[in-house]
């Protein structure tokens, strides 16, 4: 049998020489810019936009480097490379974000060119992770594996990545621009309706691939759920339509006020019908050979994401069934963290980065190395990053699940809470972020400890808590079933609770429950809200349905009840 290195099957886009040359040139360009800055030949005002274009922010404690992980997909050697960078140039850990990227919090400016050089060696970079450009295109973490997938969305994410990277028209947009793609109209796992453009891959009656398009979603200071602008966009028109949307935004979006510069404000102020008409006019004008997405190009990109060589297996593993019967902890983990796979006898595994009392999305270099090794052993050398700040091994044989679970347990990565109340999204908050008003992480830690009991979590079921440390809403609090927003009141941290948010295709923005609370009060209030839900729900009823049936009053009453 010919040995094939697992990374050859990893569903990543493999750079060609042109890609490599471009990234290497950008590294050397930035090295020269850093040298000039340190010598004083560039002022901070001149240098700041240059460092931001390379993902380097100045944060609360030091520089922070945001590394792009295209559509959240990594090969094992790339994760090892990130681990090594974190160990050598940072403090041995990193933080996965809701944009499926990795942030390192303790970076030195003088080291950054070398770090970018190391990234280039593993076909990675930090370009367009900041600035008013098209950011990392995000997508479904189960791409290529989910039974409900219509077409692999990574193909289109990669096409859009290539189209928008250093595109001169899109380098100085009015504000940043985020695109997400859902693999299925049945279950949106990419939160497409809170993005500037959300695409849902679909097929028409003739079996042709196309997209449903949503434009103008976003969170932050003024949250909007994106309205649908097109029910059907043929695959060949993807580039032309995205180009048309971006051109309308580039021309008509506001540049006089950063708080009103996102496309969601343009769509809202222009009114949807008129906005659609503007886009359709531009789309009709530019539609043609130059912007047509050639099917040959699609197929060439698709070849990078070819399914790995799955073994032919029976649909269910007898071994896994026996292990589940013998080991309750393993059984609990399978119930929460393991999903069906389109290939018989396989499964997709969510590696929770949300241990009770832990920091959501944080991972140590040692854990990164362990996950990379396990990906090589069990999932064709490929790892996914989810927008919910977890990792996924997408293609695991069910026969291997027990061994995988044991290995994850040994490195503290087998928390059985994926999709449950302990699986909390939280931004870095005031512990790391210079924009934050309040800490997010300690609230997440207190809540994950409060709800640590697996039986309690299972009883509660699907109830998502999302926490942001400021109104920029990096922790997606607006779309949490229970959302928590940190606010500053005269230098002290307070927390505003919202209920009723939802990031799926039937997305909704949560409503504020009442006055802001102290940290301890907020944690107690959330527990009482959950208890009230358990008391009042009907059999099988999700929190959002109970809330819709009963209204806010019983939850508000208990949240603000005196102890």
């Amino acid at each position: 049998m010919t040995y094939v290195h697992p990374r050859n099957h990893a569903g990543i886009y493999h750079y060609d020489e042109l890609d490599r040359q471009f990234v290497r040139e950008r590294v050397e360009q930035f090295r020269f810019q850093v040298e000039r800055r340190l010598k004083g030949e560039l002022s901070e005002d001149e240098f700041k936009p240059l460092r931001l274009m390379n993902g380097l922010y100045l944060q609360l404690h030091a520089y922070m480097l945001r590394i792009a992980i295209p559509y959240g997909t990594l090969a094992s050697h790339q994760l090892r490379g990130l681990s090594e960078i974190a160990r050598r140039y940072d403090k041995g850990y990193g933080h996965f974000t809701t944009r499926q990227n990795l942030q390192l919090n303790w970076i030195k400016l003088e080291d950054t060119p070398d770090i970018l050089g190391k990234l280039a060696e593993i076909d990675m970079h930090a370009i367009q992770t900041s600035g008013n450009c098209v950011r990392n295109v995000t997508t479904d973490q189960f791409a290529g594996a989910a039974p409900d997938e219509v077409v692999d969305p990574r193909v289109y994410a990669e096409i859009l990545r290539q189209w928008t990277t250093i595109h001169p028209e899109f380098t100085f947009l009015p504000r940043k621009f985020k695109i997400a793609i859902s693999a299925s109209g049945e279950a949106d796992r990419a939160a497409v309706r809170v993005h500037d453009i959300g695409l849902v891959v679909k097929k028409n009656a003739e079996g042709e691939t196309g997209f449903e398009v949503y434009v103008g979603g976003g969170l932050g200071r003024t949250p909007f759920i994106a309205p649908k602008t097109r029910g059907w966009l043929p695959e060949e028109d993807l580039i032309a339509y995205i180009e048309a949307v971006l051109r309308v935004y580039n021309q008509a979006g506001r540049r006089d006020n950063a708080f009103k510069a996102r496309i969601k404000i343009l769509v809202h102020e222009t009114k949807l019908d008129k906005f659609i008409a503007l886009v359709e006019d531009e789309f009709a004008r530019i539609r043609g050979p130059k912007f047509r997405l050639d099917s040959a190009i699609v197929e060439a990109i698709r070849s990078h994401f070819a399914p790995p060589p799955f073994e032919e297996l029976p649909p269910a593993s007898d071994l896994a069934v026996r292990r589940r019967a013998d080991d309750a902890a393993f059984d609990a983990w399978v119930r929460t963290n393991v999903r069906d796979h389109k290939a018989p006898g396989h499964a997709s595994v969510t590696i929770s980065l949300k241990p009770a009392g832990g920091v959501p999305g944080d991972i140590s270099s040692e854990q990164m190395d362990a996950v990379a090794d396990l990906a090589d052993r069990h999932s064709f050398g490929e790892i996914r990053v989810t927008h919910e700040q977890n990792l996924v091994l997408a293609h695991v044989k069910q026969d291997d699940l027990y061994a995988l679970w044991q290995a994850l347990s040994a490195v503290g990565l087998a928390t059985a809470n994926a999709g449950l109340i302990g699986d909390i999204i939280a931004c870095p908050g005031l512990d790391y972020c210079s924009l934050a008003n309040a800490r997010s992480i300690p609230i997440a830690q207190a809540l994950s400890e409060r709800f640590a009991d697996p039986a309690k979590q299972a009883e509660i079921g699907d109830l998502k808590i999302k926490i942001s440390g400021c109104i920029n809403a990096c922790g997606h609090h607006h779309v949490g079933a229970i959302g928590i927003l940190g606010v500053d009141k005269k230098g002290e941290e307070f927390y505003q609770i919202t209920v009723g948010g939802n990031a799926e295709l039937d997305a909704s923005i949560g409503d504020i429950l009442g006055p802001a609370l102290t940290a301890d009060e907020a944690v107690d209030a959330v527990e009482r809200i959950v208890d009230r839900y358990l008391e009042r729900r009907q059999p099988g009823e999700r929190f959002l349905a109970t809330l819709a049936r009963l209204g806010q009053a019983p939850f508000k009453e208990t949240a603000y009840a005196a102890d």
Binding site: R37, L38, K39, G40, E44, L58, Q59, L60, H61, A62, Y63, K91, W106, I107, K108, L109, E110, V359, L430, D431, Y432, A436, A438, R439, I441, P442, Q445, G491, E492, E493
Partner: protein, 103 residues
Amino acid sequence: MALKAITANRLRDGAVVWLGQKGDWVERIDAAATYDEAGAAAALAQAQQDEARNLVVAIYTLDVEILDGAPSPLRTKERIRALGPSVRADVGKQADPIARAAA
């Protein structure tokens, strides 16, 4: 009016620093100079020359009080900046042996 100190990030490595009593940039807030309102404005103007000399970036004043003989920030954000993340005692200035010994 609260006492003031002056802080910045060192350009080369981004480290949080405070203006010290000798006009140098120190890595511990314990060693920071403090000023009244008028003194802070003058010291800030002087410190901004170090920004022009590319030693530091993002200079600003912060409110402090004297606790146990050393400046201590009034606001949570500045306290976290002076120590490190509240959720990771093993990183940041708080992880330094000097800070631990003093704690």
